[in-house]
Amino acid sequence: MQLNRNIAVSETGFIFNPSSGDSFSVNPVGQDVIRLLKEGKNREEITSALVEKYAIDAASVDKDMDDFLVMLRNYQLLTGHE
């Protein structure tokens, strides 16, 4: 899975999709996920990075990641499968 081409993410968590004109705001955790996606990390790598940074169990991260990734796909920000 990867972020769509040209998706712009600012330091404040503002996301702009230049092909649809849509813009979104994400919280700091969302920013981390987006940044890691941009770096080409896979789902497992993102989950472990979040577990380490936020001192949280992997099951909780997994559940929230499911929701977040569905949302990214619905907003046409993400392509490809996990």
Binding site: N6, F16, S19, S20, G21
Partner: protein, 349 residues
Amino acid sequence: MSKQRITVAVSGLNNIDSPGPGIPVIRALKESERFEVRIIGLSYESLEPGLYMHDLVDKSYQVPMPSAGTTALLERLAYIHAKENIAVIIPNFDAELHNFIRLAPQLKTQFGIGMFLPTMEQFEARHKSVLFQFGEANGVKVPYHKMIYSANEVHQLENEFTYPLVIKGKYYDASIAATPEQAVSYFHKISAKWGLPIIVQEFVSGTEVNVTAIGDGQGNCVGAVPMRKLYITDKGKAWSGISLDDEELIKIANRVIGNSKWRGGCELEFIRSNDGIYYLLEMNPRFPAWVYLAKGCGQNHPEALVRLALGETVEPFTTYDTGKMFVRYSFDQIVSLSEFEQISTQGEL
């Protein structure tokens, strides 16, 4: 490089909530890096806001309504030209284009005034009533439609259409009908206002995206900037919009302009269906009111149009900025009664 001084006459000064393109065109020209432009406003009514924008419009003249015909228009333009030495005219109203297209050769030979307008054939070929054929001829999808002349025909539509469908006036207005009863109601409402026929169009669900573009008449698309409306007024006009990075849309715009050898500015209105297919909904034969966004994105379409009208060859733009937005605002101008009196009684300001 010193700028070339030039006088350009522009109509469409109705910078109201459903704005004409005149003021955005003038702003783009005033910011031209090639031309130092003196603007002559051509107005139809005394309350067109552009008449009173003296920082943008240097002098204004009333012109006869399009229904007065070409003779009256030519006479008035001859009077204005004698005083102002106009080099180029940019008409911005659909309704006046017919007259200007007919007068174009005479204005050029008799007065040396340049315009860069579509040919009469091009102008007629993209009318709503023949848009489907235009799409077929130019390699772009257009939602299926047919024309009807009586409300009774609505009940036979179910053989060709599924509801919802769109009921459109021949010039303006469109409503989405979910049932035959609604379709009949819209038929009466729209035909009472705009006459017959009524256009029944397949409803395509998706996102509306528009392109402002300019063709050189030789099959080259000189510029094209796509935009999505972010905020829409109750009249369906964009109050805010954003430029898009959409290669497919640019490709389609290039194809339409190229195949039709479009001459002049235009606006292409598309709907991107939920499965990503573009359908052309309308092609307007002049710049849209949001054309200043193109200037903001690095493509000064009005400047390119003036150059083409002067007979220059214009190299196509190759890039534009994406993610640039426009946000309109309304602004109360304080106007002295004497100015209103002057334009109302003398037809000049």
